[in-house]
């Protein structure tokens, strides 16, 4: 029979046995929430497993029971005796079907519908269903307590040590060749047996990953999604117990990723992602932990929605959510009972799942970490303690002591005297240069106080932050070692990943590459961070255009202000109205020039804009586009924002702000002044230029939708339509009363217009 199916049978059978007590307790007290949860989790797990084992019948039963129990959990339904009976009947039935699967016998499924019907809220009290249980068959696998296996393993180690002792004695006493041959045979058998015994505890994580491709395929098909699954690190070996305990959480997470995380092809296309969603499951060992990482490139967790759901479902108050940090809000996905989904599917979305996943992982002393990238995907990392693992190591010597280093973390071993290897001291830091690559050097001898000789061998250790060279006295051997966690006081040093007892009979510590770097003060993190900051600043650094100015200076101007570069005839430029202006179609725009432009037949101008206003800047020639460095030495002359160094050259940065600051507002942005024109045209001829010079736009008639900021009328114009309250009346004589203003009192007029228009502007 399929291994997976067998495991499912064994597990379900075991859970059912454990659940028997819960069921009885729940029957006695249907309001008992913890019992209810236990039963709910059972049917949910069965449902989950059925999905990928292709057991539609069990899936139907468990889904039905789950629905009914979910209603009770949501307080939508009261657990009465009829419901309890119906659920128990379904649980019993699951047990029978499981037995039938195990025994390979057919089981009549006619009663299933009755059982499912009995779960309905309005079901008539069901008659006691009598079902014939299939014969229970003996399985070819047995379950053993971990204690027993441990005793077997330690017995094995003792045997190896005894063999070593015996071999030593025989060597010392010069044994006879036949005895030596026997010892040889004993050693050989022992080695084989040790391997077998180890396998009873250890398993490649591959067995955990083996079910994934099929499950991913089926789940994706069911949901109409395309998913590409990548599996890495399947050869990591792990305690069998851990593998078993991680199976359910992994299945939940993978299903969630496909159901909730990955979008359908159309949505992905719209988001600019490849149509096929990617799911990456990988395992690796890091320090004294195994990390199982499940990463998808889907939509990530909508934290705001999760928070809103939590409030809606009464799990948190709005105030709590508002006060929560982003991480705490993300953490809400683990809240029991939370479902971020609006519809329930057979795949997931029951709100069990993440809380159960976390409980399972914490139960084995692990933890779960989320890295959410909204719109880009979610990465879930399961940190599982390395209770026991076989690690391929390199045994190294420092002083008189030996240490093991995980082979995985060593990239290369080079002799410190080899060609192309240099060791230097830079200040108080040590540096190794290996074939031109500079690496921080950590000499293990001085670090551990075991020796202060210069290192003779360098191991290039790769950590997540970066590589460094670990200076050693000797590289002795490679060995597969059974590693166990060390005592807290030993782990507290941060240097070790665990301890092991090799055949020598002397305990040995497993070094943690990243921990050593940290203890030695090698700061990759900071170095990387600085690099990133620089990158970020370079990115954020304003792009600017270098150009040669009319006065021969090399200057830079913010690229954002530049609209285009234009060549214009000298004749288009004239000094009019107090400044240089450039004719551009029917309008003029202000032209800034550092020197007089008279001796140029043609001009190159930078057309600048701030979005509303426009102006031009005359130059000789544009140059490269560069990123302005953040260090800007302030300038003391107007028109220049400061001086930066670009390519070793001092460059003045044009103060674009100043260029625009003295421009008149563009016509569209000027407040509107409505002139109630008089017959003589005085307003149009005399008044209008004066008002426009003050920054207003004058019209004689309002276009539809326009509102005047202020309106002007002659004192004697009679009734004018009340355009707004902001009407200024003008009188013809200096003397006069009321609130009108003498028509040549320019200052008073402007002030009055300003005052009236102020309310609108």
């Amino acid at each position: 029979m399929d291994d997976l199916l067998q495991e499912f049978v064994a597990e379900t059978r075991e859970t059912l046995e454990a659940l028997a007590g819960e069921i009885v307790a729940w029957e006695a007290n249907p309001a008992d929430r913890t019992r209810l949860d236990a039963i709910f989790r059972f049917v949910h797990t069965v449902k989950g497993s059925c999905g990928f084992l292709d057991l539609p019948r069990l899936a139907r039963l468990s889904h039905a029971a789950e629905d009914a129990l979910a209603a009770v959990r949501d307080d939508a339904r009261r657990p009465d005796a009829a419901l309890v009976n119906a659920v128990l009947a379904v649980v019993d039935r699951i047990g029978e079907v499981v037995e039938a699967i195990d025994g390979g016998v057919a089981l009549d499924d006619s009663a299933d519908d009755l059982l499912i019907a009995a779960l309905a809220e309005d079901a008539a009290p069901a008659t006691q269903l009598v079902l014939s249980a299939g014969p229970r068959t003996a399985s070819r696998s047995v379950r053993l307590s971990v204690d027993l296996l441990d005793r077997m393993m330690s017995g094995m180690s003792d045997l190896v040590l005894a063999r070593n002792e015996l071999a030593r004695r025989l060597r010392d006493e010069g044994a006879d060749p036949s005895v030596e041959a026997s010892l040889e045979r004993l050693s050989h058998t022992l080695a084989e047996m040790r391997d077998t015994v180890t396998r009873t505890r250890m398993q490649r994580i591959e067995s955990l990953f083996a079910a994934l491709p099929r499950m991913v395929r089926d789940t994706a098909t069911e949901l109409g999604k395309q998913v590409q699954l990548d599996i890495e690190g399947a050869d990591v070996e792990l305690d069998r117990e851990m593998i078993e305990l991680m199976r359910d959480p992994l299945v939940h997470i993978v299903r969630n990723a496909i159901d909730h995380g990955l979008e359908d092809a159309a949505t992905r296309r719209r988001a600019g992602k490849p149509e096929v969603g990617r799911l990456r499951v990988s395992a690796r060992q890091s320090g004294n932990q195994i990390l199982v990482e499940i990463a998808d490139d889907g939509r990530g967790v909508d934290v705001a929605r999760v928070a809103a759901k939590a409030v809606e479902q009464g799990l948190r108050t709005a105030a709590e959510v508002a006060a929560a940090t982003a991480a705490e809000r993300l953490d809400l996905v683990f809240a029991p009972g939370l479902s971020s989904r609006d519809t329930v599917t057979a795949i997931s979305g029951r709100g069990v799942g993440m809380d159960v996943v976390r409980a399972n992982i914490e139960q084995i002393g692990g933890r779960i970490a989320l890295a959410n990238r909204p719109g880009q995907g979610l990465t879930i990392v399961l940190h599982v303690p390395l209770t026991l693992s076989i690690i391929s190591t390199i045994v190294v010597g420092v002083g008189d002591q030996r240490f093991a280093i995980p082979r995985q973390s060593i990239e290369e071993i080079v002799s410190a005297n080899a060609d192309g290897v240099r060791l230097d001291r830079i200040g108080d830091a040590a540096l190794a240069t290996v074939r031109g690559v500079r690496l921080p050097l950590v000499a293990l001898g001085p670090l551990t106080g075991l020796g202060d000789r210069g290192p003779t061998v360098l191991a290039i250790v790769v950590t997540r932050e970066g590589p460094y060279a670990l200076g050693l006295d000797a590289v002795l051997d490679t060995e597969e070692l059974v590693v166990r966690p060390a005592a807290p006081a030993v782990m507290a040093t941060g240097l070790y990943a665990g301890q092991t007892l090799p055949d020598s009979g002397l305990p040995m510590l497993l070094l943690d590459g990243a921990g050593i770097a940290a203890a030695a003060g090698v700061r990759f993190a900071a170095a990387t961070a600085i690099g990133q900051v620089e990158d970020a600043e370079a990115e954020a650094g304003t792009p600017a255009l270098l150009f040669d100015d009319l006065d021969g200076q090399r200057r830079a101007i913010a690229l954002g202000a530049l609209d285009r570069v234009e060549r214009i005839a000298r004749s288009a430029v004239r000094a009019t109205g107090g400044r240089l202006r450039l004719v551009s179609r029917d309008d003029t725009i202000a032209l800034h020039a550092m020197t007089p432009v008279d001796d140029h037949a043609e001009l190159t101008v930078l057309r600048l804009t701030d979005g509303d206003a426009e102006c031009a800047y005359a130059i000789v020639e544009p140059g490269d586009i560069v990123a302005l460095p953040p260090a800007l030495a302030p300038a003391t002359i107007p028109g220049i924002a400061g001086v930066v160094v670009i390519g070793g050259e001092q460059v003045e940065v044009v103060d674009v702000h100043a260029l625009f600051a003295d421009l008149a507002l563009p016509p569209a942005a000027r407040p509107l002044c409505l002139l109630h024109a008089d017959a003589g045209g005085w307003m149009d001829n005399f008044l209008r230029p004066a008002i426009e010079a003050s920054g207003y736009r004058c019209v004689a008639r309002l276009a539809p939708g326009e509102t005047a900021a202020v309106a002007l009328a002659m004192d004697d114009a009679g009734d004018v339509p009340a355009a707004a309250g902001a009407l200024v009346r003008l009188r013809r004589t200096p003397a006069g009363g009321g609130d009108s203003i003498y028509r040549y009192d320019r200052a008073g007029l402007v002030a009055a217009i300003e005052a009236r228009a102020g309310g609108v502007r």
């Binding site: 393993m153 330690s154 017995g155 094995m156 180690s157 003792d158 040590l161 002591q401 670090l447 551990t448 106080g449 075991l450 166990r484 966690p485 060390a486 005592a487 807290p488 006081a489 030993v490 782990m491 507290a492 040093t493 240097l495 070790y496 301890q499 092991t500 007892l501 009979g505 002397l506 305990p507 040995m508 510590l509 203890a519």
Partner: protein
């Protein structure tokens, strides 16, 4: 009520250790140092197929370290890890009635932290100690 106690000598003083805390009493083999661990951790030793963490009891009590040759130890199990707690010598295993610590008994820091009462052997009062208390605990996270 009488309990079974192991009478040992630590830092020259006889003490009583609850027998229930004691896994076994051994003479350790070679001790492998644990560089950079706190001074309380003398090192690691192999005890049959098991690795035990050796605790220098004197250092744990805030006294000068035990002699480098000290090998006799009491094995105890704390949180799933086995520790060998070094002792000067072992004298006896016997049932005693535990009495509360006399008021006003001025114990210094290290001893006070592990003192759990008194027993009386032939008129000689012996301090009852909690050897699990000697084992360094990780800082509460």
């Amino acid at each position: 009520m009488t309990e079974l106690f192991l009478i040992a000598r630590i830092a020259g003083r006889p003490v009583a250790i609850e027998a229930a805390q004691v896994d076994s009493v051994v003479d350790l083999g070679e001790i492998v140092a644990v560089p950079r661990a706190e001074a309380t951790v003398r090192g690691l030793a192999a005890l049959r197929s098991r690795v035990v963490t050796v605790i220098d009891t004197c250092v744990a009590l805030g006294l000068a370290g035990s002699a480098a040759s000290a090998r006799r130890a009491v094995i105890t199990r704390v949180d799933g890890h086995h520790y060998a707690v070094l002792v000067d010598s072992l004298e006896d295993v016997a049932p005693f009635v535990r009495q509360p610590l006399s008021l006003g008994l001025a114990l210094d820091g290290g001893w006070r932290a592990i003192a759990r009462g008194l027993v009386e052997r032939d008129g000689e009062p012996l301090l009852v100690i909690d050897i699990a208390g000697i084992v360094p605990q990780p800082l509460a996270a």
